[in-house]
C-alpha cells in the first residue's frame, strides 16, 4: 500500500508545487501555456514543445475578480479571473481558451485585459459537432490555433510532432481508462480524494511522466487484495468534484467512487483521438466523436441517461450530481438527470458545490443525510 501512497503523493506534489515546475521549465527555456476548461487541443501545445498547464480555478477567496464579474459567475471562472488579475499567471506565455459556455466567451475577452501582453488564443468548437461540415470548421479553428501557437513558440509545429503528441495523449487516456476500470472493479481500493488526485495531476505534469505513474499505479492496484467493500458505491457527475474537503467527506462516510462523468476527469479521457492521415483532422474527429457532454449539443439528452446508466452498470448505490453553482449547462441538464435516475430507481443527490473550502461544511450535512438514506 505504501508504494501506492508514494505515487499518489508524488502526483499530489505536482499539483501543489506547480509554481516550482513552471519555474524550472522556464529556466530550461520552455514556454508555458495555460489551458482553460473544458476542451482544448492540448496535443498542439505539446507538439510545439511547450508545457500545457490546466487553469481550472482553485480554492481562493474572491475579491479582484469582482472587477470583471458580478457575484453570480461560476466559482471556477471567478478563481481564474482572481488569479489572472492577481498576477498568479504571470509566468505563463499565453492561454488557450475555448468558448463552450457564455461565461467562457466572456473570460476569453476579459483575460486580455487581466493579463496584458499575453497571447489569449481562442478556439470556438462547433456545437453542432456531428456533421462533416462541422469537422471542416473545427479544422479551420485548429489551424488558427496552431498558427498562433507557432508564433508563441517561435517555430513551425511539424505534423510528425503532432502525430507523436497524439500518440502520447492517447496512451495517457488509455492508462486512465484502465485506472478507472481497475478501481471500479475493486471499490475502495483507492479513496475518492486519491482518485481525484490521479486525474487532476494530469493537468500539472508532463504527460509522459503522468502516464508512467498511472501505469505503475495500475500495476499495483491490479495486484491489490479485494477490498470486499461493505460501504456504499457512488457515481460522481458534474463539472468538477472540488474542493478536496468534499472528497474527504466521501472517504469518511465510506462512499467509494466507482465511476464519474466529471468534465474535469473522465470526460477528458474517454474519447481517443482516432487514426488518420491529416493530424488536424484527427483532432477534429475526436471532437466530432464526443457526446453526452453538457457543453456539446445533445438533442437527445444522452448525457442524462448516461449518468443513470453509469450507476446501473457499475452497480452504484447512488449518484452525486456535483452542481457547480451558476453553471448553466449543468443546471439545464439536472431535471433530466433526475428523471433518468428516478426511472432507474437510483438515489440522486443534487450537491451544489463551488471551489471554496468554506462551503464544504454545508456539503457535509447533505452528504451525510444522503449516505444515511442509502444505508436504509
Amino acid at each position: 500500500m505504501s508504494e501506492i501512497r508514494e505515487i499518489i503523493d508524488r502526483m499530489n506534489w505536482n499539483i501543489t508545487h506547480i509554481s516550482e515546475t513552471i519555474q524550472k521549465k522556464k529556466e530550461n527555456g520552455q514556454k508555458i501555456i495555460g489551458v482553460l476548461p473544458i476542451y482544448a487541443p492540448e496535443e498542439l501545445i505539446h507538439a510545439a514543445g511547450m508545457f500545457p498547464v490546466g487553469c481550472w480555478g482553485g480554492s481562493t477567496p474572491i475579491s479582484k475578480a469582482a472587477k470583471y464579474f458580478p457575484a453570480f459567475a461560476c466559482s471556477i471562472m471567478q478563481a481564474v479571473m482572481e488569479y489572472a488579475e492577481g498576477g498568479a499567471y504571470k509566468e505563463l506565455d499565453g492561454f488557450v481558451v475555448s468558448t463552450p459556455c457564455d461565461t467562457l466567451k466572456c473570460v476569453s475577452q476579459d483575460l486580455m485585459t487581466a493579463c496584458p501582453g499575453k497571447d489569449v488564443i481562442c478556439i470556438t468548437y462547433p456545437q453542432n459537432n456531428k456533421p462533416e461540415h462541422a469537422v471542416r470548421f473545427t479544422m479551420t479553428e485548429l489551424y488558427k490555433v496552431k498558427a498562433k501557437l507557432e508564433k508563441v513558440c517561435g517555430h513551425k509545429i511539424e505534423d510528425k510532432d503532432i502525430s507523436r503528441s497524439i500518440e502520447i495523449y492517447n496512451e495517457n487516456r488509455l492508462a486512465m481508462q484502465e485506472f478507472y476500470r481497475i478501481t471500479d472493479e475493486n471499490p475502495g481500493v483507492i479513496g475518492a480524494k486519491d482518485r481525484h488526485i490521479v486525474a487532476k495531476s494530469s493537468y500539472f505534469m508532463d504527460k509522459e511522466e503522468h502516464t508512467t505513474l498511472v501505469k505503475a499505479l495500475n500495476d499495483m492496484l491490479r495486484q491489490a487484495e479485494p477490498t470486499n467493500w461493505t460501504g456504499k458505491k457512488i457515481v460522481l457527475a458534474g463539472i468538477i468534484a472540488e474542493p478536496n474537503e468534499v472528497l474527504d467527506i466521501l472517504d469518511e462516510m465510506h462512499l467509494a467512487v466507482v465511476a464519474d462523468e466529471l468534465a474535469h476527469e473522465n470526460r477528458q479521457f474517454r474519447t481517443l483521438v482516432p487514426q488518420g492521415i491529416d493530424q488536424l483532422e484527427r483532432l477534429a474527429r475526436q471532437y466530432q466523436n464526443m457526446e453526452a457532454c453538457s457543453v456539446i449539443y445533445d438533442p437527445e439528452k444522452k448525457r442524462c441517461q448516461l449518468i443513470a446508466d453509469l450507476a446501473k452498470n457499475h452497480h452504484a448505490d447512488g449518484v452525486i450530481y456535483c452542481q457547480m453553482k451558476f453553471c448553466d449547462p449543468e443546471e439545464f441538464d439536472y431535471p433530466f438527470v433526475k428523471k433518468a435516475c428516478e426511472e432507474a430507481e437510483i438515489p440522486l443527490l443534487n450537491l451544489e458545490v463551488d471551489q471554496l473550502t468554506e462551503t464544504a461544511g454545508q456539503a457535509r450535512t447533505r452528504i451525510q443525510a444522503f449516505a444515511e438514506m442509502l444505508d436504509m
Binding site: A73, C101, C122, H133, F137
Partner: protein
C-alpha cells in the same frame, strides 16, 4: 390591409398586430400549419417561406412578465428541478411547456423547435430541454462565437451548410418541397421591415427626441415575431411618419422635459417597466440610444446566403468585446447621450460578464458617465426599486456635473 392600416395610429396598429399574431398562432394547427418554437433572432426567412407558424418563447416570457404573471411559472420551474439561477425567460417558458396554459398569452405546443445561438449559449440547452420534453425534432443553427473582429468566411461556410440542412429538415417536417420563390419574397419583405425599423428607431437619436425611447421595448416585439410580414414593415413605416409629424409640430411622445438623454444598455426589466419609466420621466431622462435599433436592422443582400449567414452570426452578443464596445460608443455619439444606464441582468451572463470591462473601455473612449443597476428581465425577485432610484439619482448628479465641466471648458 393597406387602407385599414392607415386609419390606425402606430399604437393601435401595434396592438392589433399583436392580437392578430397570437390569434393566428392559436388557430395555426387547425389550419394545417406546422407550429415551431424558435429563438428570437432566428433566420425566420426559412420558416416563413414554408408557412410555419412561429412562436417566440423569449417574447412570450417577456409578455407574461410584463403583465405581472411570471411568479407562478417561476415557482413551477423550480418544482420541475430548474435552478433559480437559470435565465428567467427560460424558466418561465419551460414551466409553460409543462402547463400549456396562460391567462395572459397562449401559444400552442410545437411540432419542432429551432434555435440559433447568436445571442447566447443558454438557448442551446433550453431548446434541448424543450425538444426532449415535447419529443419533437430540434434544429440547431450553430453560429460560433466571433472572438475575431469580423465574422470569418470559415464561419459563414459552416453556417451555410447548416442552412442547407435546415431546408432538408423543413421539407421533411412540413412534407413539401422548399418554396424558393416565397423565400426570395420573404427576404425582400424582411429587408424592407429592417429598413423601416431602422429608420423609425433612428428618430430617438434626434435632439430633442420626437420619440419616447422607452417605447422601443414595445415596438421591438413585432421585429421578433413578424419580421417577414408586410404588416410589420407598415407598422414601422407608420411610426416613422408619426415621428416626422412630431418633428414638424415640434412635439414628442415623451411627456416631460427632456433634460437628459441616455442610452439604456440591456433588456428591459419587464416586471417593473412602469416603475422604471416613471423614475426616468420624473428625472427628465429620455432614452435616446439603445442597442436595439441596430440589433434588429437585419439587412442583407437578398440573393446572398453568405450575407444572410454573416448577418445572423454577427449579432452583438456573439461578437468580441472590442467590436461590442466600439458599437456602443458609436451609439453614444450618434444619439448624443449624456449618460448610460447598464442593466446587470441576473438572467444574462453573456451580457453581464463582459459588461464591467466593456463599461471601462467605452468610458476610456468618451468619458460619458454611467451607472449600473441589478435587475432581471422577467424574474420580479431580482430587482430593488430603491437601488434603481438611488442609482438614477447618482447618474443625474454625474451628468449635471459633467455638463457644468463642459460649460466651463467652453
Amino acid at each position: 390591409m393597406e387602407s385599414e392600416a392607415k386609419k390606425l395610429d402606430s399604437k393601435q396598429l401595434l396592438g392589433k398586430l399583436q392580437v392578430q399574431y397570437y390569434t393566428e398562432l392559436a388557430m395555426a394547427r387547425k389550419k394545417g400549419r406546422k407550429v415551431c418554437w424558435a429563438s428570437s433572432i432566428v433566420p425566420q426567412e426559412f420558416l416563413e417561406a414554408m408557412d410555419v407558424a412561429v412562436c417566440y418563447p423569449e417574447n412570450h416570457s417577456a409578455a407574461i412578465a410584463a403583465k405581472k404573471g411570471a411568479m407562478p411559472f417561476i415557482e413551477h420551474a423550480e418544482a420541475m428541478g430548474y435552478s433559480n439561477d437559470i435565465c428567467s425567460y427560460a424558466r418561465i417558458n419551460l414551466a409553460y411547456a409543462d402547463i400549456m396554459k396562460s391567462d395572459i398569452v397562449y401559444i400552442p405546443r410545437p411540432d419542432f423547435v429551432v434555435c440559433i445561438n447568436n445571442i447566447c449559449g443558454v438557448l442551446v440547452k433550453w431548446y434541448e430541454n424543450l425538444a426532449k420534453f415535447f419529443n419533437v425534432p430540434y434544429i440547431l443553427i450553430d453560429v460560433p462565437y466571433n472572438y475575431e473582429y469580423e465574422v470569418t468566411q470559415e464561419r459563414v461556410d459552416y453556417i451555410k451548410e447548416q442552412f442547407k440542412d435546415f431546408i432538408v429538415q423543413l421539407e421533411k417536417i412540413c412534407g413539401k418541397p422548399f418554396d424558393y420563390d416565397k423565400f426570395d419574397k420573404v427576404m425582400a419583405i424582411s429587408n424592407r421591415t429592417a429598413r423601416a425599423w431602422k429608420k423609425a428607431m433612428s428618430y430617438a437619436a434626434q435632439k430633442p427626441s420626437p420619440m419616447d425611447g422607452f417605447n422601443m421595448f414595445n415596438y421591438m416585439s413585432m421585429m421578433v415575431c413578424l419580421r417577414g410580414k408586410e404588416s410589420s414593415a407598415e407598422l414601422y413605416e407608420r411610426i416613422a411618419e408619426e415621428m416626422e409629424e412630431n418633428i414638424r409640430e415640434q412635439k414628442s411622445q415623451f411627456p416631460g422635459k427632456q433634460k437628459y438623454r441616455i442610452m439604456w444598455d440591456g433588456i428591459a426589466c419587464w416586471p417593473y417597466l412602469s416603475h422604471n419609466y416613471k423614475t426616468l420621466l420624473q428625472n427628465g431622462i429620455v432614452i435616446a440610444g439603445s442597442t436595439y435599433p441596430k440589433a434588429w436592422a437585419l439587412e442583407y443582400g437578398e440573393n446572398s446566403m453568405d450575407d444572410l449567414a454573416r448577418t445572423y452570426a454577427g449579432i452583438g452578443n456573439n461578437c468580441c468585446i472590442q467590436r461590442q464596445a466600439e458599437g456602443r460608443a458609436d451609439i453614444h455619439k450618434e444619439c448624443q447621450v449624456d449618460g448610460v444606464i447598464y442593466h446587470i441582468n441576473r438572467s444574462c451572463k453573456i451580457m453581464d460578464f463582459m459588461q464591467p470591462e466593456m463599461r471601462r473601455k467605452i468610458y476610456d473612449m468618451n468619458q460619458i458617465p454611467y451607472i449600473s443597476f441589478d435587475g432581471d428581465q422577467s424574474d420580479p425577485k431580482n430587482f430593488s426599486k430603491a437601488q434603481f432610484e438611488t442609482r438614477i439619482q447618482g447618474l443625474v448628479e454625474n451628468m449635471e456635473e459633467r455638463r457644468k465641466e463642459k460649460e466651463v471648458a467652453e
